[in-house]
């Protein structure tokens, strides 16, 4: 827990590190787009959900239920023009809070004030009528989201073009593929031109091209000073797009502050208890003459760990067992982000390490003097190949998962690796004063 409970005044962000703190973020005096005051929300958990009158009369009341407190006295302020993230584990109340902001759920206590037009991307294409054409549904959906007929007519072409559905716009949406359906829904919602956009885990829609356009649209909205509230589990994406983040746990605000800092704390808190038995998350193949038993990461003191800090010295130990002698094997090691992006993938052959022959048990080590991965969660894939790297003896995907927490170099802007570069003023009037780099 430790440094959890930071109050909502926003002082947590005072560190003022990443470039987003210095640059585009509006001054403290900016008006709030969303003000959440002491909001509590209960859900009824029915022990026996029987929606019939008979059951009601025989019990003498409707149904037995327990109150489940999804939000407990939550207060937060979201300044206009901020991209604000809500994070927390499943059941932490972040989606509930978003739905309260969207006025879909009504909190029992407290108030939520939203300034400007709100559009919520909770489910794309909600309210599409399957029998009606895409055209008719655009008008209907836009009206549901609060756009006037005139505005829809004006934006119609843009909406259809963005969804890439020019050809199909007059066929009934029931004939659409799920991708087309979602694209049209997204296109309508984003073109409503809201002042406040609420997004719940729907960023990953459509193909790559469409995703890129969505992201462009998001940055466009950010740049034009719109307020965006995002709920997501994808920490690396949240780190990149959010200015500020609120971390919820069991309906209570744990911390509010600058995105990088809160996400670091969240990961540190939540993912410490990652189990060793994560081993073998992915696929495994190979002929099996020699196998990789397990892989571990050890720290400077050679203690196994799966939590390291940026800049730490670490060693990857690959334990193998060759059932029969194998000449000139090649060991490979790769790090992937959770999104599946390859970060690096060195192997022994390219690094110039020739193992003449392996037989029986053994360990091969990869020493990394400075781990330059930025905070996030990563997967390790290892392989054992023949010398030509054509025949796999053992290939183990996602054999190990580890977390990187903030360290030195400290960067909160996001991304995967630090290049550990050095800044200097070489011309001009700026007189650099030496200061210690920020460490966490």
């Amino acid at each position: 827990m430790g440094d959890g409970q930071t109050d909502s005044s926003g002082s947590a962000g005072a560190a003022g590190t990443g470039p987003n703190a210095a640059g585009s973020r509006p001054a403290r005096s900016a008006a709030n787009a969303i003000t959440v005051r002491n909001v509590s929300k209960n859900f009824r958990l029915y022990n026996d959900r029987n929606q019939s009158l008979k059951a009601t009369f025989s019990r003498g009341r409707r149904a037995r239920y327990e109150d489940f407190r999804a939000l407990d006295d939550v207060s937060l302020e979201i300044e206009q023009g901020t991209t604000y993230g809500l994070i927390g584990e499943n059941g932490s109340g972040k989606s509930t809070l978003l739905k309260c902001m969207a006025r879909i759920l009504r909190p029992e206590k407290g108030s939520i004030e939203v300034v400007g037009k709100v559009s919520a991307l909770l489910e794309l294409g909600a309210g599409f009528h399957p029998e009606l054409s895409g055209r008719e549904n655009v008008f209907l959906n836009a009206a549901i989201l609060g756009l006037s007929g005139k505005e829809v007519t004006r934006k119609f072409d843009e909406i259809v073009e963005f969804a890439g559905l020019e050809q199909f716009i007059d066929s009934p949406v029931k004939n659409y593929s799920s991708g087309m359906y979602v694209r049209l829904g997204f296109s309508v919602a984003i073109n409503v031109d809201p002042d406040v956009l609420l997004v719940d885990e729907v960023l990953a829609v459509g193909d790559e091209q469409f995703q890129r356009r969505c992201n462009e649209k998001f940055s466009e909205m950010r740049d034009s000073g719109k307020t965006i509230v995002v709920v997501s589990h994808g920490m690396s994406a949240m780190r990149t797009i959010c200015d500020r983040v609120a971390w919820l746990e069991h309906g209570v605000v744990q911390q509010i502050g600058d995105a990088g800092e809160v996400i670091d704390n969240y990961i540190a808190e939540v993912q410490t208890d990652r189990q060793e038995d994560d081993e073998g998350l992915g696929a495994r193949w190979g002929s099996g003459e020699a196998v990789i038993d397990h892989v571990e990461i050890v720290d400077r003191d050679r203690r196994p760990t799966n939590r390291i800090n940026t800049g730490d010295a670490v060693t990857v130990r690959i334990h193998f067992d060759a059932h029969e002698p194998i000449d000139r094997p090649v060991f490979g090691f790769a790090i992937f982000t959770l999104e599946g992006v390859l970060v690096t993938g060195p192997n022994t052959r390219e690094a110039g390490l020739e193992c003449a022959r392996i037989d029986g048990n053994g360990v091969i080590e990869l020493t990394i003097d400075r781990m330059l991965l930025l905070p996030g969660t990563y997967d390790v894939t290892v392989s054992l190949y023949d010398h030509a790297i054509t025949h796999p003896y053992d290939f183990r995907q996602k054999v190990l998962r580890f977390d990187v927490e903030a360290g030195t170099p400290h960067e909160t802007f996001g991304g995967v690796v630090s290049l550990a570069g050095r800044w200097a003023v070489t011309e001009g009037d700026a007189h650099p004063t030496r200061s210690e780099p920020v460490t966490s």
Partner: protein, 273 residues
């Protein structure tokens, strides 16, 4: 009243939702909108044979119109009844049928039952239009019915408010207790025969063993609604002011009561659905 302002502000959405109901209604059926007329026509034939021919109910000659036709007299009552009964059973399904929408988007939820009632208004008016054509042809003069159409239209507004008010209450009740719809189907049958649609009101007045029973019978607002439609379209006479006042009070009262009940219980709709 802020409820009303919100509804007025979202009139465009109301139009769109109504269009959705109308467009979606007969999609994928071969005859499409013809069904909207075939249905009442089939009922007209059945009721005319059973209650007009077999039971020998005689509506008499229309006072000023000179029409003497059981089918026309029947339809003057059956069309408003069909409108109300379809509005109520339809309203009950609107919230459950649009659960996906309610859980994902905010808009004034009243619009769902309202749009259903409005879409039924459209078919109601089309059916009435056809009926008026018959009245014009069968009546003593072709244009004689025209002056009576204006009060008839006002009555359509009143009966719509009445249907929407009850519809709102049923819609929200059905979310909390799903068997409201089954119970209501039975009540609807009872209500149909407790309204002088297939038989004249005079029959009840003649045969009732006690006066209070007639009073009780007439307390049903549908008795007056049907009575006024008949006096306007079949008899071409002004209905009694007491009857008019009675249905107006019911319409306005039920409409606002429905809004109040709906607002009272809609808060947890997204959770209960």
């Amino acid at each position: 009243m802020n409820v009303l302002t919100e509804i007025v502000q979202s009139r465009e959405l109301l139009t769109n939702l109504t269009l959705r109901e109308l467009r979606g209604k007969y999609k994928r059926s071969l005859l499409g909108w013809t069904w909207s007329l075939l249905n009442p026509i089939s009922l007209m034939v059945i009721y005319t044979v059973v209650f007009g021919v077999l039971f020998g109910n005689d509506p008499g000659i229309g006072l000023n119109s000179g029409i003497e036709s059981f089918p026309v007299w029947l339809m003057c009552g059956l069309l408003p009844w069909n409108f109300v009964s379809q509005s109520l059973s339809g309203s009950m399904a609107t919230l459950i049928g649009n659960a996906g929408l309610i859980k994902k988007v905010y808009f004034p939820r009243e619009l769902l039952p309202f749009s259903l009632v409005l879409s039924l208004d459209v078919s109601f008016l089309i059916e009435m239009g056809v009926l008026v054509l018959f009245i014009a042809v069968l009546g003593s003069s072709v244009v004689g019915v025209l002056p009576w159409l204006i009060p008839a239209l006002l009555l359509v507004v009143a009966i719509s408010a009445y249907a929407a008010g009850i519809g709102l209450m049923l819609a929200v009740a059905n979310v909390y207790f799903r068997d409201v719809q089954y119970l209501f189907t039975i009540l609807l049958n009872l209500w149909f025969y407790a309204t002088p649609i297939v038989y004249p009101l005079s029959l009840v007045e003649d045969k009732a063993p006690a006066g209070w029973m007639v009073t009780l019978y007439k307390a049903n607002p549908m008795v007056e609604f049907v009575g006024i439609f008949r006096s306007l379209l079949y008899d071409w006479t002004m209905p009694g002011m007491a009857s008019v006042a009675y249905v107006l009070v019911w319409s306005v009262g039920i409409f606002f009561a429905g809004l109040w009940v709906f607002r009272r219980f809609e808060g947890r709709l997204a959770e209960e659905l």
